[in-house]
Symmetry: C2
């Protein structure tokens, strides 16, 4: 099943203990779609500026990603500059230039209209809602958000949550959204806001899938924790969460039936894609994987966590 | 197989968001031995003061723990006062009174001499080494330490590490000991210091078992990550790490053969005992468990992490 993703396609300048890269291709929709492209067809909705050229377009084309929904606007693309020098778990932002993204009005190509899977990456919740409403045929809708929207655009965000099947956020965001420091209590609170499922990403400690309805637990839908892989070197943490989301949602979209087991395996594939993303700068590693490499790492995750 | 544990038996005054308790029975050897007592025979080496009375003794007796190695000295027992008001993951220490513990000289009862399992809880590495050397028959030796010994008593600690099979420490301690912020690199560095295995405890995110020799990996001894259980309420985090160690080492001591699978199950039992410990103040929950409750929770941990 094809996924449509709406979000940022951007340029990032990144500094980590492993080095520095200027203006790599980045953005949540980029990481998400590259990661998901190993599992299913992906269609992107975004806006870019005149600095988005043939080289950037080629990255999407090489993975068979549909870019007809990437609008070209006059001006420059969204730009972010950040560093992870003190702490690989937390980016320090040096510059954020919205550029053409500041007036983004998502346009959905007609050809995307049959997408049954929809991912609303981290953008203004007003836009997330607009896209969700314009794609009523989507039967599984997942989304991400961030501290800025949680704090300053809460009402709009709560409207989006009502229309989500799955929300993917990190620990800090879950605690902030719920106003509760206990992760399990926070998860239960978030699950009353609309989503049927909540994935909380714990960075280097993996991620946890929580289910909303107590009734569901009886059908085998249980809380599930996927680990992250201990890595010898984290080159660049940028995009790890979006790559997790791409692996998770991409795998789900590739399944004929969304069984509880499919959701657990999707958590593993999310962790797998996140672990690849951080091993090179930007999207480098995600551009040149094979399904064999992905499945080999899935096996490592199984061995890391399974008793037998 | 019987375990001998050397460490602190103490009184703790604890404040958490759930309330306050004055002078509960505490200390690393107490938490460790209660947790381990559900799996095997446990013998304690410690020193207490005149404030350690029949009620405290009864806690050990009720679990069949051998207290002949708990020396009664003139004065008061070790006392710690701390709170976890801002952050359940980090204790704020308000008072530490070593009292009789300040001149602790471990005396090993002759009856402990056949203990094949030895646990050196977090005490002065000079004493850890002395006990280890006095018990040459021990065939599996594990130990704990803390930031104070890592920073200010490094030479003595490094001597202890040479005689350890398994070191159990938390993330911060592992990074500090290795002088390396990458967890996997830090683990590899610590494993060159002596221990064959390293258990790094991640608090609410579980724990990871690392193996020292690359050769061992071939025999199926692989890195293994056990989760922690997401809990609705953490009443008191005191002793969680010592309870983890007790469950982990207690289970190992109960096994006829120390297979790779036994170590993985031991990691789960460690997490299980840690999860019980934090659900009540002090040692309350650890005093009154059943093996059925323990094994039921083990099953929950399996369901939390296993794909099938």
């Amino acid at each position: 099943m094809a996924i449509t993703v709406v979000g940022s396609v951007a340029f990032d300048s990144i500094e980590t203990p492993a080095g520095r890269r200027e203006r790599c291709l980045g953005g949540a929709a980029t990481y998400f779609s590259l990661a998901a492209s190993y599992f299913t067809d992906v269609r992107v909705i975004a806006v870019v500026g005149e600095d988005f050229g043939a080289d950037e377009e080629a990255v999407f084309q090489a993975r068979g990603i549909d870019t007809r929904g990437i609008e070209r606007a006059a001006g420059k693309s969204f730009f972010w500059e950040g560093s992870y020098l003190d702490n690989l778990n937390e980016a320090k932002t040096h510059a954020t230039e919205l550029n053409v993204f500041g007036s983004f009005a998502p346009k959905i190509p007609e050809a995307y209209g049959d997408s049954q899977f929809l991912f609303l990456a981290n953008i203004d919740p007003v836009l997330q809602r607009r896209v969700r409403e314009a794609m009523p045929q989507a039967r599984l809708v997942a989304g991400d958000t961030m501290n800025y929207w949680i704090k300053d655009h809460r009402a709009a965000l709560l409207e989006v949550l009502k229309g989500l099947d799955i929300l993917l956020i990190n620990d800090t965001e879950a605690r902030m959204l719920a106003g509760n420091n206990n992760l399990l209590q926070a998860a239960h609170a978030v699950l009353t806001m609309g989503p049927r499922m909540l994935v909380v990403k714990h960075g280097e400690y993996g991620a946890t899938l929580f289910h909303g309805s107590a009734a569901n637990v009886k059908s085998g839908e249980r809380t599930f924790r996927a680990p992250a892989l201990p890595l010898e070197e984290v080159v660049d943490p940028t995009g790890a969460g979006d790559s997790f989301a791409g692996g998770f949602f991409g795998y789900l979209a590739s399944q004929a039936e969304l069984t509880p087991g499919a959701f657990r395996r999707a958590m593993f594939y999310g962790s797998v894609m996140g672990s690849f993303a951080v091993q090179r700068f930007g999207t480098e590693r995600l551009q040149q994987l094979s399904r064999d490499e992905i499945d080999h790492r899935f096996t490592l995750f199984r061995e890391l966590t399974h008793l037998d």
